[in-house]
Homo-oligomer: 323 residues x 2
DNA sequence: TTGTAAGCGTTATCAT
DNA sequence: ATGATAACGCTTACAA
């Protein structure tokens, strides 16, 4: 062709590990440079039957934890020579489904679901269209998918013990109204640990996970006859809202009057207005595991343990006495 | 084929506005359902010479403002029946360039650059490979690209006037060491407005935009012989850091001892720990404009004004006296 | 190592 | 309205 070589030579030049002589490769490369040629991945995907696209299905994208996870994921993905397609599932109307269809139509090799409460139908569609599937902090068990979960129970146990050491006996768990699997696991774990340690616990569920939810919970928790001496929040966002309300509306001091522990270790948890003791989601490790599994050769993917359980380390800051 | 019809019939069924009889369409649709058939967009892109993919080139993805903008953009994009490919330019090594190459190889129809300081070469590459390009809050002028900018000068002017009304005379501008075009525009605008109003202004530049940067600036601003009575922060993140440091390390009260105005109106600005008066980036409007332009038919795209200037409304909260 | 040729799933053109 | 057929740009046997 352009460099006086055949198509195949060109193809081989751009296929890692194909046999081309250095001479021809160079000629091709030079010609490509001149002509501004780039391999067409649409065409490549067509023949190779794999597109190199992996789909990120995410809701609440603008949330600190989610955006951070997405960052880590795309970073690793790029590193592995793949490319991320983003599907935003915030809306509840048909546009989500349309977007999802899109993903299928582009023959994505895989999808990573970091949506809080993905529709079961989403999972099915991905699986049916032959994609590999990674579920982060979710429950569904099915053939051919990888779940990456945190050890929520262990974290909850650590939290309960910290509260006990701080001399608290009446403690609370703050969470959203509708529970994602991980939120539920944290709640269960906390309940069990509390029971074992002889702690009395109030569970407070309000609205949607987020700052406002924390404020609402503070309201109902602090107007009780018996105020809890500590609260374990299912997410940092809840913790932030709760702390603001507790301090400003009830004039309490943290950790003197109330101990607080969060979950996620979002950026804001480290801000000195909060200095929140919390559990760090190992986002980079999550991303690494996901991408590694996606890069496994065809056969071995299913020989692997379909559940990765990661540990969430506690980050001690200033919201627990004697932490 | 499967439904006793030709390929073309199938194609037409899935091509909006093609002529198929209801009867055949129905037959095809039914067969597709049965066989789990989905149009292959890789192949379609190949023949149609447009992929339907638009590329989001973003750095600091986990930052509140960026992730929010990305959310708005993907949302609108999906709504318009297109799909977003995400390129994370955080790293400085080759992986960014590789990722970008990827995008080109997938024959993205367009790219939206929301990166703080994109390499000039990125812009060139996109343009050269025939993509349409949208630049958000950037400067570069070139044929065939749309710039969407905020009216930073007007906002800065509003801020200066607010400070004047609050009785401040010595004011400061807080920004990062390296200035993106919008940060520079805010600075310039503020300087000019201050001059016009007879305000004395200190410009403080430190490190990378973000919370820490705000803390550092507070440090150097509040240890001066003459403390400023107000500070206009180039971003909310800077404002948050500054406020925390000012309150906790210098025991000052806001807005009594110091007025603060931010920019972006990130979620945290509304948290009661800050209640920051700030300028709201009209992210939805930005996204709308971008997607609308991308959807313009071939010819008309270049007939249109290549610069959209949007207004950033001030959101009055509690950090300016008499706001 | 290199070239030839078939085929990947579409769409577009041209008949019918 | 429908069907045949030639692209689209690439990969991959297979042959040389």
């Amino acid at each position: 062709m352009k460099a006086g070589v055949s198509r195949s030579a060109v193809s081989r030049t751009f296929t890692p590990g194909a046999s081309v002589s250095d001479e021809t490769r160079l000629r091709v490369l030079r010609a490509a440079e001149d002509l501004g040629y780039h391999v067409n991945h649409l065409a490549r995907g067509l023949t190779r039957r794999e597109s190199g696209i992996v789909c990120m299905i995410v809701s609440d994208l603008a949330t600190p934890y989610r955006s951070n996870l997405l960052r880590a994921l795309t970073d690793q993905l790029q590193n592995a020579g793949r490319v991320a397609m983003l599907i935003n599932t915030d809306r509840s109307d048909g546009s989500v489904n349309r977007a999802l269809q899109q993903a299928v139509r582009y023959r994505a090799d895989a999808s990573v679901i970091l949506s809080g409460m993905p529709d079961k139908s989403i999972i099915d569609l991905c699986l049916r269209s032959g994609q590999r599937l990674v579920l982060i902090n979710r429950d569904e068990q099915q053939e051919g998918l990888l779940r990456i979960n945190l050890d929520d129970a262990a974290a909850a146990d650590t939290a309960a013990r910290a509260f006990l050491r701080a001399g608290c006996h009446l403690v609370a768990f703050a969470t959203s109204g509708a529970g994602t699997p991980s939120l539920v696991a944290r709640e269960q774990g906390f309940l069990e640990a509390a029971k074992e340690l002889g702690l009395q616990v109030i569970v407070e569920r309000q609205g949607v996970t987020g700052y406002q939810c924390g404020r609402t919970i503070a309201q109902s928790l602090m107007t009780r006859r018996q105020r809890p001496q500590a609260v374990f929040c299912a997410t940092d966002l809840i913790a932030c809202g709760l702390m603001d309300a507790v301090r400003q509306e009830f004039g309490l001091s943290i950790p003197k009057d109330l101990c607080v522990i969060g979950f996620d270790d979002i950026e804001q948890a480290s801000w000195s207005a909060y200095s929140l003791t919390t559990f760090a989601q190992p986002v980079d490790e999550i991303a690494l595991q996901a991408v590694e599994w996606l890069s496994l050769p065809e056969g071995s993917a299913f020989a692997r343990e379909p559940l990765v359980k990661l540990h969430a380390n506690i980050v001690w800051r200033q919201t627990v006495r004697g932490g």
